[in-house]
Symmetry: C2
Subunit: 393 residues, 2 copies
């Protein structure tokens, strides 16, 4: 036998994947600790959605659903995409694929768009799953940098310079985790041109579409004329409807792309669960006051957190977040702590969980992510603790 | 820009994936057609399991579950594995990962065990997802042949000859889809030796563990002494508890393997749905008469189908299936039809859906898969129709 890799057990691919700090932090969360770490809504799923799942159970929805999703769910999503996002999925049955959360639809998008050794542009700082997902399809993530000086908008000239012959795609996250940035229409228009000029597929992650604040408007790049063949957009029920535990999301794009994606879906999980899909129909076709209510509560918390952070030493919010449920302040620490050390120090000394910016890429170094997907009382106590430890400005 | 692949949309990887005939057949299933195609139980999920999901909803289980699974589910699975399968998962919290069905756990097993360009042995005929899954991780499926002359048991001498320097794993399916074969203990012992001698990881798919007939006993290769570091076993709730629509399964193996697998799980779907996991606890800890009841009903149908098939011309069951819910007869057709043509002809002339054996690999050519996961009345009518078309022996 020829010599093999180190372990017969574990591939080199996965042994190189990063261990998320979330797991480490979760172990440290003890009594009396307040977490500003959450990446999911603190709200429970609205009652009418839960009731739809119970009804579906009574109706016997316990068998395999279709791989792309129940036809009536696809139909309802087609209407929503047109009315709300301006994305024309004229044939929802072939242009939409329902998945186990937008996590699965993002990974399936990579599988469908990217071959081994090819490259995909990813935001830095950006959601920490993009890089590992691209590595899972044996391709190369290439970062484009975001700066708070630019309001964390995308510098399209700099982005162009990152394109190599092997580049086949661009990941956009709008609104952004971790920065809370809502991408401007003018920036998206420039990116659309870059995609067409360079024959690139845009993989747009719009999981936070429903949470924008202060009049900021969420624009789907997939709604632009001429972009029909260049964009796959990934949406989620997890954030909008507080349905993280249900694992239901979806991708919309050109039929040829989605039909290929759904072949792959047979080999990742077969389908999003039957009950989750039936609940999703109730969510998308039912009353939307619950979504609007959550959005306004997030905005109230954002405003409060920003006000308090502006009074606390060491932390500087240069960019007012306009979406998602995160604030991403710069750290001006006294010593030489990096963001991970600073975050662990806050946990130890103030008993407040934060996520170090370095978790979101090299450009995240020197920042912290604070989530306000937790109740106002906890946010207020956390701010008190941080202020006590770090001092007032 | 350098020249790129044909389409900017779709990777070469996925454009090479096979289109399943299931989709094509599904479109042909019209009024009056009886399907012997099903790959899932016709039974509904038992009531006590559905009720557990409703209770979980009332208790607020709508948030992200832990990636590897709820601790109490892992604990319950650890006990089940020890008592039923003889697999010692002494630390269930690190040795078990709950997934969106065993489909996801199989794919995650490939991701974890296999690097690009490496090779994995797969059964032929075998479940049609194995090859594409291996191709999704950019590795090479290499078949080992199964023959009805050997009762579709594995010829371990032939298997050894298929091992190349790049081979890192063996997929076993026990009981087998499509042949219904339950692997003998003596054969499994020989395969265990092959794995250890050649430093290979065994990826065992035991989704049909609960359905064995006529006294045949299901043996988990992961229960053998000395195999602790050489086996990852994949189980499913879909078949045993008629829970296909819930998407819940699990993998058990060495801690180092499972911990790495669960890192990947964050990027495939994050976790199996909360409700599905709570329902799974009720399934695994609750009364098992329902499972035994389904197994005995499948056995009754198997016996009936075998009796009828033995009287029908053109179809020969050389190997009495001892597990799963399939019969895999040889076709002795009048003309020169291959199995796909024969299957389509049966659909057209007898209005009976069958799956051509060629769907399960080259060695499946000349066979048909008939599922008895449908009610007895439909099976009887289907047999009448086949007998009318094909004649009596």
């Amino acid at each position: 036998m020829a010599e093999k890799r180190k372990s017969h057990l574990v591939s080199e691919r996965v042994s190189e994947l990063p261990h998320s700090i979330f797991a480490r932090l979760a172990n440290l969360v003890g009594k009396g600790v307040i977490s500003l770490g959450p990446g999911e809504p603190d709200f429970a799923t609205p009652k009418h959605i839960c009731n739809a799942a119970k009804k579906a159970l009574d109706e016997g929805y316990t068998h395999y659903p279709p791989t792309t999703g129940y036809p009536d769910l696809l139909e309802a999503l087609g209407k929503k995409l047109k009315a709300k996002n301006g994305i024309r999925a004229d044939d929802p049955q072939t242009q939409i694929c329902v998945t186990c959360g937008s996590t699965e639809s993002l990974l399936l998008s990579m599988f469908t768009a990217v071959d081994p050794t090819e490259a995909v542009l990813v935001p830095d700082p950006g959601y920490m799953a993009y890089g590992p997902m691209i590595e899972m399809v044996d391709a190369e993530p290439v970062t484009y940098e975001l700066h708070d000086d630019d309001g964390f908008q995308i510098d399209t000239d700099a982005m162009k310079k990152r394109i190599k012959p092997k580049t086949v795609g661009i990941i956009l996250n709008n609104p952004s985790n971790p920065t809370g940035t809502v991408l401007k229409r003018s920036v998206l228009e420039e990116i659309a041109d870059i995609a067409v000029d360079n024959n690139l597929m845009i993989i747009s992650d719009e999981a936070y579409e429903d949470f924008t604040f202060g009049g900021a408007e969420h624009t789907s790049i997939g709604s632009f004329n001429g972009m029909e063949d260049y964009v796959v957009t990934n949406f989620s029920f997890s954030k909008s409807y507080a349905m993280a535990g249900w694992r239901v999301g979806y991708a919309v794009g050109p039929s040829s792309f989605i039909e290929t994606m759904s072949k792959d879906h047979l080999y990742t999980s077969i389908a999003s669960p039957a009950l989750s899909q039936r609940a999703a129909i109730a969510a998308v076709t039912g009353p939307h006051a619950c979504v609007e209510g959550m959005a306004r509560e997030y905005e109230r918390r954002r405003d409060f957190m920003l006000k308090r952070l502006n009074e606390i030493s060491c932390l500087e919010v240069k960019v007012k977040p306009e979406g998602a449920f995160y604030v991403f302040p710069r750290i001006h620490s006294f010593g030489k702590m990096n963001s991970e050390q600073f975050s662990l120090w806050l946990l130890k000394e103030a008993k407040v969980v934060t996520i170090p910016g370095s978790e979101f890429g090299q450009m995240g170094e020197g920042f912290l992510r604070l989530s306000y997907a937790t109740d106002m009382k906890s946010i207020a106590s956390a701010m008190d603790r941080l202020e006590k430890l770090l001092g007032k400005k």
